[in-house]
Assembly symmetry: D2
Homo-oligomer: 466 residues x 4
C-alpha cells in the first residue's frame, strides 16, 4: 500500500534523478523568461485570487502561532546584532536570539521530522550521491521547525545554505538556534525591526567566500535585494524557487519588464501546494482554530461559510462532517452549483445572518462581512476569517464608541453592543489558521518536497553543471 | 480481518453448539411463558413503535417488488389446486404455480446464496453433525429466493420442513417451484385467494406421517391456525420463532391469556434484526426506492424526513451523504437532539413544506402528512412513506374530485391540482422499500441467521431431545 | 436561497441575452477555426482521457436502459419506413415506430420536465422574446424524454427543429411519437439498421423548404453527413454544438485539416458537463447500477475502485458514505495523493484482489482487470465498469472453454470456474451506468441547458442576424 | 427551527414546572430505595463498562487542561486555609486561592455562558418564580467556568449553595474566586492536599445557620462524608443527584446495604449525558486532543481504534470524516457488526499494528495495548487513550532501562527504542480528552441542564414543600 508520503517521495526522487520534466509538467509552473512575454497576460485567473496562508508579505502582521515556543519572556532585551555568540564548535557566522536554546529547537525539529517523511526519505535515498553538491542556496522563509527540516535536508543532499526570515515575527528562536548550532548560517529572530530585517537578508547573501547560485524565496524580498544590490550575483543565479503568491507576482512584473533573466519556478501554483494549503489544510485548521480559541462544540451549530473555493470547500466539508448545519454564500455560479450538489444551502448572507452561530469568510474579497451584518448577528456569534489577509471582515467598522471591546483571551475579543449583545471576533479578522491554529507539518512537508523537486529543475534548465 | 458475514456466522455457530444462552442474552428476547405474566406490562416501548418492513400481516396489500420474476404472464389461469404436478423425482406433495419453473427459481436462489454467506458457512460447518436432526419445522413466511436459502439450510442441517406463504402476493413462483423440486413440501403461489391462503397453511401442517414440533412464523397466522385447529399438535410444539411485530403482538396476547404454553422466540426485537431492518437497510433502500421510481438526482435536493428513529436516521444519513439538504421533524426530544448533533435542521413540517423537493415519512404515526401539507407542496414534490403501513400520508384526503390522479408508472402517481401543480406520490403511500426497491439479501441473511440461532434455543429450553 | 436549477437558469438566461462571452469563458471551450491551428496540439490532456457516459459513437452497442419503455413487444415488425402515419393534425413529415404511442411518451416528457426546471424556467423567461427565432436547428442525439424537453424548449424559444437519433438502440419510441405529434420532424426508432440510421439523418437535414443554419450533434455523424453530402448547406451553418468527446475529436481533425469553417462549441469539456456527467452523476449511478442488477448491500462490503479521476471520485465517495470499505488503484501521483487524503487506501490491484467483494473500473485505460485478476477473485465477486467503453475489463479472456457463462438476469452473468467459483460480471463489461441504471434527468438538464447557452453564442460569433 | 439548546431548555423547563415525571422517564434513571433491592442485580451492563470522562474519582491524577488559566505561577505558596480573605462585600465565608482573581474568573464564566444557553434560558424563564426557593444545595464537583454557570443558575432560581471541589487538581482558581466574590460559599483551589480536600468538603456541609437538604455530587465523596459524619443531616436530605459512574456505583452499594434512604438520581446513565459525553464529545475531542498535542494531519493517516462503543464510534466517525483510514478492534459481535456496516475494517490489533500511524484505545478494559504491540509499532506512531482511566495502554511496561523517555512538550513523550524508533505517547496513557483538549462547554451545558432537571424531581419525590 502506498502512503501519501511514499507517493510524494517517489515523485521527489524522480526529480532528483533529473527527470524533472515530468514533475514540472505535472505540478509547478515555470515562469516565463523575459523573451516570451506574450504568455503573461494569462497570469492568474482562478488560483490567483486567493492569497495563500503562508505567503505573507513582510509587511503583514500575521504570524504563526507556535504551539511550543520556549522563548523565555524574561530574555534580556539586547539586540541579537549586539551579542557575541558562538556555537559549541566555535562558529560565529550567524545571528539568532540565543544560541543556548539550540537544544529545545532540536526537539521541535525532531517532532517535525516525524511528519515530514518525504524529506527524510529523500535524505536516505540521495545521501550517497549528494545530488545538490555545488548548490549554494540563499533562502528567505519563515523559520520554523518545518523549514528547519527542509534546510537540513538541503544540506544533507550536498547544498550549502545561508538563511534569513521572511517575516519579522514568525521566527521560532529555538529552531534558529538549533540550525545555527549545526552550522547553517542563519540570521533571524522573532521581533526584528525593519532595519534588522534587511540586515539579516544582506548577511545571508553576503557571506565570506560564498556566492549563492540559487534562491529559495517566500515573498520576493530576498530576490529583490539580490537583484538591486548584487546585480553580479543575480546574473549568475541558476534558479529561483518562489513559494508565495506575492513573490510570484513580483517575478511576473520583473519578467514583464524584461529583467527576469533567471529561471524561476512557481511553487505556489503547483497542484500539491494548492490542494494541501487550501483544501486539505483548511479542512483541519478551521476545526483546530475554532476549538483552540473558543472551545465551541461543532455539532448542531449553524454556520455560514462565505466563499466556496478550495478553502471554503475544506471548511464546509469538515464542519458538515462534525454535525454542523452549513450554509454557503458564493457568487461564482460554478462554485455555487458545486456547493448545492454537496448538500449546502446556497444563500445570501442577509438571509441567514440572524440565525447563525459562526460566520467564516474565505472569499478573497474585501468587506464581505460588514457592520450591517455584524449589527444583526445574534448574541455569541463567532466571526472569523480563513481567506485573504485581514480585509474580509470590516473590523474597522467595529471601532466605534458605542461598542465595547473586551479581550477575553489571546486572539479572542468580545465586541459588546449597547444592549449587551456580544460578538466573538477571532484574531481581529486576520487569518484564523495562522493566528489560532498550527499548520500541520505534513502540509509543509508536501510544499517543501515540491520545492526540493524544483531545485534540480533549475539546474537543468541551464544545461550545465553548477 | 473479520467480515460482517464471518462475525454473524461465528455467532450462529456458537448457537448451533448449544451455547445458545449467550446468543439469546445478546440478541433475541424470549417471550415469557404464561406463568410469569407480570413482565408483560413492559412490552414494547421504543422499539415496538415501528412496524418492521417485512412484518406484513396477511391482510396487508404490500408486496415485494421482485426484480426478477420470470413468471410468464401468459400462464394458464387454472388454479394450482386443480393441477396435477409432480417433481422429476415423482413427488407430488406440494402445490405451486408451475413446477417447470424450478430451473429459473434455482438461479434466483443461487444469486441469493452469494450474499447469504452466513447461512452457507453454517451449512459447511454443521453438515456432518446434522444438529437439527429430529426437528420437524412447519413454516409460514414470504417465499422468496432468500427464504429459499433459509429453508434449504434448515434441511441441510437435518430438519424436515413443510412451508406455506404468509402473504398472498409475495411468493416468487419460480422459487416455490425450485423448493418443491428439491423435495420441500411447499404450498404457495402468487395471487392466492383468502381460501387458498388457509388451505395452503393447513396442508403445510397436516402432512402424511408428519407431526411438526417447531413453528417458524411471520405474522402469526400459522401459529394461530395450529393453536385453533390442531390443539394436540400445538401442545407438542417445542418452540415458536416469530419474526414480525404483528406476530409477536399476537403471542403476547396469547401469553396474557395464559395460553402460550410453548417457548416463543421474538426475532423482531433482536438487535441484529432491528439494526439491519431499520438503520442499515433503510439507508440503502431509500435511495434505491426513490431512484427506481423517479430517477431523481439526490444532489442539491431539499428533503424533509419526518421522524428520526432508526429508519429516519438511515434515510437522513444516506441522503446527506449524497448531497441532499435534509430537514427533520421529530417530537421526541432525545431523537431531536440527536438529529441536531448530526447536522440536520429540526423543523416543524409547516416551516419547510413549501420549499422541499422530497417528503419522507418514517414516524410510525398516522396522518403525519395531511391534505393541508399536500396543498402547499411545490410542483413536482415527491412524497413517500418509509414508516408504518400506509397511514402516515393521508392518501384518502387526495381522493377528491378536484384532484386528478395520473398513473405514470407502476407505483408512481401524479396527483394534479386544478392549477396544474403535480405531486408525485409513490406506492400510494405504502412502504416505499417494499414497493419500489428490493430488500438487500444480506439483510435477510442476517435475520435468517438470527432465526437459525433460535431453533436450538427452542429445543434446549425444554431440556430434552426431540 | 438559490437552488441548483435557479443558478443554472440564471447562467442560461445571461447567455440568452447575448452576453454569451462570460458564459463561454467560464464554461464551454470554443474549438478553434481552421486558421489558428497552432493551438490544437494542446488538445485534451486530462479531461480528454475519459470517454463520457453519453458520448456513444454510433457503432457502440451500449444503450440506455429505459426504466419505462412502453414499447409493446408484440408490435408489428414492419419497418417504420414502410408505414403510412400521420399525426392527429395531419402531418406526415416524420418517421417513428408508432405515432399512436404519443400519449405515453407525453407522460414521460412530463416526468422529465419535473426535473428539468432550468429549461422550463428558460421557456418562461424568454417566450415573449423568441430569442431563437430564425434558428433552424438540425439535431442528432439520443431521443429520450430528456432530449424531448430540450427540443421542445428550442421550439418554444422560436427555433425550427428537425431531429434524428445518434444511436440505433437508444430511442424511446413513445417519446419520438410524442415529439412527432406536436409537430417536430423526428426520424428515429429503436432498433434502426445501419441503413436506417443514415436515412434518418438525411431526412432530418433535407426537409421541404428548409435549410438548417445550426447543428446540435452528439457523436459527429450528423456533422460529417452535412459536410460530405451537403457542402452548400455546410457553408451556411452558423454554428455547431457538439456534445460528445468523439464528436469533438472529429471536429478537431476537421479543424486541423483546415476544413472547419464553422464556429463549433465543445459542450463536452464545459465545467458543468464534466462535473455533472462524471462526479455527481456517477456518485449516484454506481449505487443505482449495482443495486438494480445485484441487490447487493453496500454496508461492510470491500470494494476496489480502479482509477481516481472524477468518475472514480464519485464512486468512492458514494460507496464510502454507505459503509463500504473502499480501496483505490491509481497511477497518477496527484490523484493518488487525493485518494489518500480522502481516506482511501491506495493499493495495487494484486494486493486486494483476493479479498474484495466488488471491483469497479474507471480508468479510461484498457485491460485494467485481466484474466489473472479474475482468476484470483473470491466466489461471488462482482465486476463492473464505469469507465471508457468496454475495454477496461478483459472480458474476452473469459470466453474460454473451461469457464461456464450463465445469464442470470438481463445484464448479469455468472462466470463459473471449474471449482464452482462464480464471478458476477455486469453488462459484459460495458458501462454500468448506461446499462443498468438511468442517467438522472437533472444531469441531462444541466447539459441541455449548457447546450442552450451556446446556441446564441454561435449566432453572435458571426455577428449577424440569422 | 429548533436548536439543540432550545430543545434542551424546553425539556428543562418542563421539569421546572414540576412535570418532572416525563423527563425522568425519558432520561435519568432513579436509583432504587433500600426497600426494593431485587432490582439491583440489573445494574449496569453495557453502559456501565465505560468510565465517563468527567467522572474522576478523587484519587485520580487526571485533571482538566484549562485552556486559559490565569493563575500566576509566582503566587505565594501560603495555604489558602491560612489566608485572611474577604470579598469586596465583606464576606469571608469561602476559601479560595486568591480572591483578587475574581475578575479574570468572571470573564471565563462569561465565555462559558455563551455556549450554555440552555441554562441561561432557564434563568430567564424561571427567575420570577424562584422554583428552587428553599433548596439548600451542597455540591462537590469540578470547579470550572462551566460548573460556575451551573451554580450561578441554581442561585438565580432561588437555591442557596455551598460548594467544594471533587478533584484536588481540577479547580480553576479564578473561577472559584469569581464565585466567592458573588457570594457563593466555595471551598476549593488547585493543588489541595488530601487533608485540604476533606476539610473543604466539611466546610461546605457545615456552614453557619445552614442545613443542606440536597446534594449534587460528582464521585460520591461528599455523599459519603455526609452519610458518615452528619447522619442527622443525611436523614433530612431530600435528594441526591450524582453525576459519575463511580458515585453511582457507591450509591448502589449503599442501596444494597439498605442504607440509601434518600431519593438519588443517576445523571450518569441519562441518555443526554451518555450521548453527549461519549459519542458527540469524543467525536470532537479526539481531533482536538491529537491536534493540540501533536499537530498531526489526519488526512491519509492510518488509525486503529480499539473498541467500538459510543466513544469509539465518535472517534471513528470524526477521523473517517477527515480522511483517515480507520481500522477497528472489537470483541462484542454486535458492535463489531456495526463497525463493519459503517465501513470500518474490523481487525485484530496484531494485524495492523505495524502499519498504523495512530493507536487509540477506548475499550474500558486493561492492557489493550501491550509492550509487544508497542515494540512492533513503526517509528513516529502516536499512542493515546480515550477510554477508562490510565490502564488501557500498558505504560508501565515502557519503564525499562533500554527505552529512553524524552519529554517533548507538556503531555507528549517520545519513548525511544535502542534502534532509534520513537513512539509518541500522549498524556502518559491517561485520558486524552481530559489532558490534551477541553471538554466543549456545550457538553457540560447539557449535563448541567440534566442535573437541573433532577433537582425538582428530588423535591417532588417526597411530595412535600421543602
Amino acid at each position: 500500500m502506498s502512503t501519501p508520503d511514499a507517493i510524494a517521495a517517489d515523485e521527489a526522487e524522480a526529480s532528483n534523478k533529473f527527470s524533472f520534466m515530468a514533475a514540472v509538467s505535472k505540478t509547478p509552473k515555470k515562469i516565463q523568461f523575459a523573451d516570451d512575454m506574450q504568455e503573461f497576460s494569462k497570469f492568474p485567473t482562478k488560483t490567483g485570487r486567493r492569497s495563500l496562508s503562508r505567503s505573507i508579505s513582510q509587511s503583514s502582521t500575521d504570524s504563526y502561532s507556535s504551539v511550543a515556543s520556549y522563548t523565555d519572556s524574561s530574555d534580556d532585551e539586547m539586540s541579537p546584532r549586539d551579542k557575541q555568540q558562538t556555537t559549541t564548535k566555535g562558529s560565529s557566522d550567524f545571528c539568532v536570539k540565543n544560541i543556548k536554546q539550540a537544544e529545545f529547537g532540536r526537539r521541535e525539529i525532531e517532532i517535525a521530522e516525524q511528519e515530514m517523511t518525504a524529506l527524510i526519505s529523500l535524505r536516505k535515498r540521495a545521501q550517497g550521491e549528494k545530488p545538490l553538491a555545488g548548490a549554494k542556496i540563499v533562502g528567505c522563509t519563515h523559520i520554523t521547525a518545518q523549514t528547519g527540516v527542509l534546510i537540513e535536508t538541503l544540506c544533507a543532499l550536498g547544498a550549502q545554505c545561508r538563511w534569513s526570515a521572511c517575516n519579522i515575527y514568525s521566527t521560532q528562536n529555538e529552531v534558529a538556534a538549533a540550525l545555527a548550532e549545526t552550522g547553517v548560517a542563519v540570521f533571524a529572530w522573532k521581533g526584528e525591526s525593519e532595519d534588522d530585517f534587511w540586515w539579516c537578508i544582506d548577511r545571508s547573501v553576503n557571506g565570506d567566500s560564498w556566492q549563492p547560485n540559487m534562491i529559495l524565496d517566500d515573498g520576493g524580498d530576498l530576490t529583490h535585494w539580490v537583484y538591486k544590490k548584487y546585480p553580479n550575483v543575480y546574473k549568475k543565479i541558476r534558479g529561483i524557487v518562489e513559494e508565495s503568491v506575492t513573490g510570484v507576482h513580483r517575478l511576473y512584473q520583473l519578467s514583464k519588464a524584461g529583467k527576469l533573466c533567471v529561471p524561476a519556478m512557481n511553487v505556489n501554483d503547483s497542484v500539491t501546494k494548492q490542494k494541501f494549503d487550501n483544501l486539505y489544510c483548511c479542512r483541519e485548521s478551521i476545526l483546530d482554530g475554532l476549538k483552540r480559541s473558543t472551545d465551541v462544540m461543532f455539532g448542531g451549530k449553524q454556520v455560514v461559510v462565505c466563499g466556496y473555493g478550495e478553502v471554503g470547500k475544506g471548511c464546509c466539508a469538515a464542519l458538515k462532517a462534525l454535525g454542523a448545519v452549513v450554509h454557503v454564500t458564493e457568487i461564482d455560479p460554478i462554485c455555487a452549483l458545486q456547493a448545492c450538489m454537496e448538500g449546502f444551502r446556497v444563500v445570501k448572507l442577509n438571509e441567514v445572518i440572524r440565525q447563525v452561530d459562526v460566520v467564516i469568510t474565505c472569499t478573497g474579497n474585501k468587506n464581505v462581512v460588514m457592520r450591517e451584518h455584524l449589527d444583526r448577528m445574534k448574541n455569541g456569534c463567532i466571526v472569523c476569517n480563513m481567506g485573504h489577509s485581514n480585509t474580509e471582515i470590516d473590523v474597522a467598522s467595529l471601532r466605534t464608541p458605542e461598542l465595547t471591546w473586551e479581550r477575553i483571551r489571546s486572539q479572542v475579543d468580545h465586541v459588546i453592543w449597547p444592549d449587551g449583545k456580544r460578538v466573538v471576533l477571532l484574531a481581529e479578522g486576520r487569518l484564523l489558521n495562522l493566528s489560532c491554529s498550527t499548520i500541520p507539518t505534513f502540509v509543509l512537508s508536501i510544499t517543501a518536497t515540491t520545492e526540493m523537486n524544483m531545485l534540480p529543475a533549475c539546474i537543468c534548465l541551464h544545461l550545465m553543471p553548477i
